[in-house]
């Protein structure tokens, strides 16, 4: 239960620093909030890699091609980055830019997911009785 306290502590400290800095220097306030987000992401990366090890063991038992679950990891990474940058954009005030980044992320994820979809279709057509 320790990591959740650290994350909350970092978030609160960042909010306070942003509030203190906003009247004095508004550009530094935004940078402090970006750095706070980065620190929290760093803490979370450790757990994400733990999850992936478990996934790898599960996937290795199935005889699916290993490229599939590598693709899933890539898609999760894209989602991770897109959410990070979109929230920074909306933080600095230009929400429309953040939405465009989100749209771009969705399109990229769809493009990356196409091989998985075709793979599933092939499996399904094989199952159907000829």
């Amino acid at each position: 239960m320790d990591p959740i306290y650290r994350i909350i502590a970092v978030a609160l400290v960042t909010c306070l620093a942003t509030i203190i800095l906003k009247p004095v220097r508004s550009d530094f306030a935004i940078m402090v909030s970006v750095v706070g987000g980065i620190i929290i992401l760093f803490m979370l990366v450790r757990y994400v890699s733990g999850i992936f090890d478990v996934f790898m063991q599960i996937f290795s038992t199935t005889n699916l091609s290993s490229s599939l679950y590598k693709l899933v990891f890539k898609i999760i990474a894209v989602g991770y980055l897109i959410e990070f940058s979109a929230s920074i954009c909306s933080d600095t005030g230009n929400a429309s830019l953040g939405d465009k980044v989100l749209l771009g992320g969705k399109i990229i994820i769809l493009v990356m997911a196409l091989p998985i979809i075709t793979n599933i279709l092939n499996i399904v057509t094989e199952l159907l009785p000829k």
């Binding site: 400290v13 940078m31 750095v35 980065i38 620190i39 760093f42 992936f52 999760i76 980055l81």
Partner: protein, 64 residues
């Protein structure tokens, strides 16, 4: 990765603001703009290093 980076950036921000004000009041306007610019550049470099480090860790973790 710890909290002191946030304090460092906040401290730099406040110091540059104070220095800017002091220089402006003492009549040296051009130097005060340079001082605030230097503060902004230092913080930008720190933030960019952090972002680069974040992207590297993401690349290693997600086995790109």
């Amino acid at each position: 990765m710890s909290v002191d980076i946030i304090f460092k950036i906040a401290a730099i921000g406040i110091i540059t603001a104070v220095i800017g004000q002091v220089l402006k009041n003492s009549g040296k306007d051009d130097i005060s703009t340079l001082a605030t610019l230097a503060g902004v550049v230092i913080v930008l470099i720190m933030v960019i290093n952090l972002i680069a480090e974040l992207f590297d860790t993401i690349k290693t973790v997600f086995t790109f």
